[in-house]
């Protein structure tokens, strides 16, 4: 048997597309027709979960699903239709900047009166909201840097050397205890969350799935290497000030030392990564392939667009006193780890 026994459990479906992909993975039913993808909401729960189900086969797979499904041609055909719907919407919804310099310049300015999620959590976030934030973000942070590693064979020279150096740092510089995904698991333990990979997939909103699916989409397609680099730059450039605010939120609420450390580490590390990504990865890539400048800008804009949608959703729920999760955190997890 080559079933992935240790992979995460398949989550409940969120509509006909994700139900059909699940059924196909379990050999219990037919795939959706590629045309079905064309009618779905490109950012909705159903399409985003269906895409997530396809992509996870490239990371850790699913419990009880054959590892070989990663390269199942019928499934890949459906995935391509889902990706096309998602990517077309992203391109349409990010009219974008006139130039890459403009897109980067905007990221490098810090708003005095910022009103994003990290500002909210720093100023008035409560512990339950920090826990929800960590549960939502765990979909990415428990595989932090993995979607970006796929771009390495698609780069060369300066861009490859610098990208590999940043990824090496993300992976703990050769020390397992410093792998960023591990640091995030430690943060989750401080917050009394379950660190099992995939544990909060069912609870995560469509907006979070879209942010992670975008990384997988950009990472898995060589044709989108410029967008992947732009996306990565946007994450690294905005991470440092955002992480400082989240570290302050963790300190103010007494979340715990590991929770503070995760964000403190990102303040310093990403102040370096930002410089390396701009001066070496982007500059190196464009030296070799100047025609990719528009794609780099698209990666930046798409990241901003999806992060804004996620932030808007989280703040709307929290300001109304509602949970942002589809499934509330179980009571067993509300006991902080001692």
């Amino acid at each position: 048997m080559d079933d992935d026994r240790r992979g995460p459990q398949l989550p409940p479906a969120r509509g006909p597309l994700s139900a059909a992909v699940t059924a196909h993975l379990l050999d219990t039913g037919p795939l959706p027709r590629p045309a079905d993808a064309g009618a779905a909401d490109p950012y909705g729960d159903d399409l985003q979960l269906a895409l997530y189900l396809c992509y996870e086969l490239h990371y850790r797979g699913w419990a009880g699903v054959a590892a070989g499904r990663e390269w199942d041609p019928d499934l890949l055909r459906v995935r391509a239709a889902l990706e096309d719907r998602f990517l077309t919407a992203l391109r349409a919804d990010t009219p974008g900047h006139g130039s890459l310099d403009e897109a980067l310049g905007e990221l490098l300015v810090e708003p005095v009166d910022g009103s994003g999620v990290s500002h909210y959590l720093r100023d008035e976030g409560e512990l339950w909201q920090l826990r929800e934030y960590a549960a939502q973000r765990s979909l990415y942070h428990l595989k932090e840097a993995d979607p970006h590693a796929w771009v390495l064979p698609r780069l060369w020279g300066r861009a490859k050397a610098a990208m590999a150096a940043v990824e090496f740092d993300e992976y703990g510089g050769g020390r397992a205890a410093r792998v960023h995904a591990r640091l995030f698991a430690d943060l989750m333990t401080d917050l009394g969350l379950d660190t099992t990979y995939g544990r909060y997939l069912d609870a995560a909103s469509a907006e979070v799935l879209a942010t992670v699916n975008m990384m997988s989409l950009f990472g898995l397609h060589r044709s989108l290497r410029g967008a992947l680099v732009g996306h990565f730059a946007a994450v690294e450039i905005t991470s440092s000030p955002g992480s400082r605010r989240l570290a302050e939120a963790m300190r103010r609420t007494g979340a715990g030392r590991a929770a503070e450390f995760f964000y403190d580490e990102h303040v310093e590390a990403d102040a370096v990564h930002e410089q390396v990504v701009r001066h070496e990865v982007i500059a190196g890539l464009l030296e070799e392939e100047p025609h990719l400048a528009a794609d780099v800008a698209f990666g930046i804009d798409a990241t901003g667009f999806l992060e804004d949608r996620l932030g808007g959703r989280l703040l709307a729920d929290w300001r109304a006193g509602r949970s942002s999760l589809r499934v509330p955190l179980a009571s067993a997890e509300t006991v902080p780890a001692s």
Binding site: L108, E110, A165, S240, P241, E268, A271, V272, E274, Q275
Partner: protein
Amino acid sequence: MPNEPSESAEDARRAPARRITMQRQGPILVDGPVEVELEDGTTVASDRWRVALCTCRRSRRYPWCDTSHRKRV
């Protein structure tokens, strides 16, 4: 056709001068690990492969850059 390696083993052993990247706006970048002596006589260390040193003196994690040099609008 015979060729020379881009960087020979001897080049690598010769430990070239440490390269520091300066910018008008932003930190000084230097290859780590580094030890930094501060005015008050204390020493702080970083073992990152690349280190960003604050030059605007606004960093709350001085001497390390925390992006506080950015323009605020």
